[in-house]
Amino acid sequence: MTTTPRWRALTQHHLFWPVAVLVVLLLINVPFTPDFFSIKMTDGHLYGSLVSIVLFGSPLILVAVGMTLVIATGGIDLSVGAVVAITGALTCSYISDRSDQDALSGVFLAMGIGLVAAVVCGLWNGFLVARMGIQPIIATLIIMVAGRGVAQLITDGQIITINSEPYKLIGGGYWLTLPFSIFVVAAVVAVTVALTRRTALGLLVESVGGNAEASRLVGIRSRRIKIMVYVFCALCAGIAGLMISSNTSAADGNNAGLWIELDAILAVVIGGTSLLGGRFSIGGTVVGALVIQTLTTTIYTIGVPTQTNLVFKAAVVIVVCLLQSPKFRAKVFGARFGSGPGANGSGTSAATPADTTPTTAAAPKMEVS
């Protein structure tokens, strides 16, 4: 046996496969762009393919991080794209009405207004899901449909362009040689990790998503947690909205954040969080979002027509989902790998026998009810 325990531990780490995919994707670029990994300093700013991947991927990372928590509770949020558009529209239209668009107070106020709107959207989603008991897909469909209309209403159907230096910083500016949006993303990711892992929020979210009935019986107030999670997701989408509109110095109610909800869900899935809820990984999601962004960049650099990007994405969705499907694993790899995520590998852990007699018989019975 040449495989050392360390190697095995590494491959079993939940981030192994997402990171491996990312690395392979990055390496594919090298033959086509030999200086792919080089980073140059020009005018005090760092430039390079890696920097731009992170820069262009920033809004997606933000949205996907918020989405991760929603999915971990067993939900889904389709409205994030619309929230991106609304936030950008509100903020830009407020700034454009100012006489001095560079005034810091005005910019902060504008951002505040945009983010409050995002939070309101999140509260609405959370209310429908947690209080009214409406399926998340359906509940968030409402804002998905109406939200873009609202965004266009705010911008009056125009693309509002602004000329505000301080606002430009968020999505297009540089700070300490790096794009400022990288710092925003880092801050949001850090806050999210702290919020979920330094407090008990992460545990409770995973518990609600992992077994809703057990969570109820253990006294977790899942309604509050769900509402919080939808608000947080909308807030992340709002920040992404600021970033997108800042980057282009314009608010486009129709196209800002188009399809971002689908990319975000994809990023979460690639990152190893199950769509059924339960265990989540913020790190995995960040890697997943980077994979998607790298895929786009790679397709561009290796000279494949950019329009095939979506076809690749479709292929990725299918492959990832098939690999997550126990039935598919059972059919393709044989029953040995089919019994669930826990079944592959793990020769190390003490192979304890499954629960004995009656409970096993009871498990299939559940399906009939």
């Binding site: 469909l141 409402i142 027509p305 989902c321 009939v368």
Partner: protein, 342 residues
């Protein structure tokens, strides 16, 4: 209901007749009635407000069918899927892809439209079949499988061409301009096809075993299985129907707009789903009528017409109004289902 002592049913009427409102709320046809009433009210409202601008012309009414024929066909397909308890996000992309495929085959490959039509329909139906196959056999959520379909077909559009392809073929344009006169007005080929599709769907859903199985698995998939119904085949068939309808809607859209464009019908799956829900079909499946979907489409179409007549209102009000209606109907549905459970 007569109260009899023989069966425990005797209890039911007591609790049932207590409140007329509750009784009304329990009727499955209620949402369709609400939508139909809403449509009529909106139409009358439009009549009184824009009477001087020709809103009363029969052709304005008929235009609802002409301008929304493709949406009606797509929504009929979505009705099958939603009735079975699933969802299909690929509708808009399949429509867009069909416009591109048709335009490309006709313009760039020079195939006659009569050859292209079966090809396009076949591709759409096969796409739907594949999605249904994956959903059923690998037990992956329909949402995510059809999301992949959305990406795939939109991507294939762009693979065919990044640019829009105008269709100048004479047989296509003559087909597009063909009109059936109804005395007071006329209908286009697209509108007639849409109405035929509606009629066929109605027949299939109400008068064939397949149609009833769609309702059964939407009502309770586990039960349907235990009752010995072939729920797997039905599920795959439902997505095939939806793919077929999307492709047909794509053909109608091509006729309507006479071009193929990789961005055609972006997001139309949302319009289709909204029309189905506003038409009173439960998003959780098992309850609803394809006739409701017609009213749902008409309401959406009427909103657009009214906004046009209003002149000062902008097009985005369509989206907002759709969202508000969607919300209202989802809440009505919620009230109905909770009542039924108790």
């Amino acid at each position: 209901m007569s109260a009899t002592t023989q069966t425990p049913k005797a209890k039911a009427p007591d609790s049932r007749t207590t409140s007329r409102g509750a009784q009304l709320l329990g009727d499955r046809r209620l949402p369709v009635l609400v939508t139909a009433t809403l449509f009529i009210a909106m139409y009358i409202g439009g009549l009184s407000r824009y009477a001087n601008y020709g809103f009363g012309e029969p052709q304005v009414f008929l235009n609802l069918f002409i301008d929304n024929g493709y949406l009606l066909v797509a929504a009929v397909g979505a009705t099958f899927v939603i009735l079975s308890g699933g969802i299909d996000l690929s509708v808009g992309s399949v429509i867009g892809f069909t416009t591109m495929l048709t335009a490309w085959l006709v313009e760039k490959q020079g195939l006659p439209i009569l050859v292209v039509i079966p090809i396009a329909l076949g591709v759409g139906a096969f796409g739907g079949f594949l999605m249904g196959y994956v959903i059923h056999n690998f037990e992956i959520q329909p949402f995510i499988v059809t999301l992949a379909g959305l990406f795939l077909f939109r991507g294939l559009c762009l693979v065919i061409s990044k640019e829009s392809i105008a269709i100048d073929d004479s047989s296509v344009s003559s087909m597009a301009q063909a009109q059936a006169s109804l005395g007071m007005g006329f209908l286009s080929v697209g509108a007639i096809v849409a109405l035929v599709v509606l009629a066929v769907a109605f027949y299939v859903l109400h008068y064939t075993r397949f149609g009833r199985r769609v309702y059964a698995i939407g009502g309770n998939e586990q039960s349907a299985m235990l009752m010995g119904l072939p729920q797997g085949g039905t599920k795959i068939a439902v997505y095939t129907v939806s793919g077929f309808c999307s492709a047909l809607a794509g053909l109608l859209f091509t006729l309507y707009i006479q071009s193929g464009d990789p961005l055609h019908a972006t997001g139309m799956e949302l319009d289709a789903i909204a029309a189905v829900v506003i038409g009173g079909t439960l998003l959780t499946g098992g309850s609803g009528y394809v006739l409701g979907t017609l009213f749902g489409v008409l309401v959406l179409g009427l909103i657009k017409s009214i906004i046009q007549f209003e002149g000062t209102l902008s097009s985005w009000w369509t989206k907002i109004a759709t969202g508000v209606l969607l919300c209202a109907f989802i809440l009505i549905q919620r009230a109905m289902t909770t009542r039924r459970k108790t």
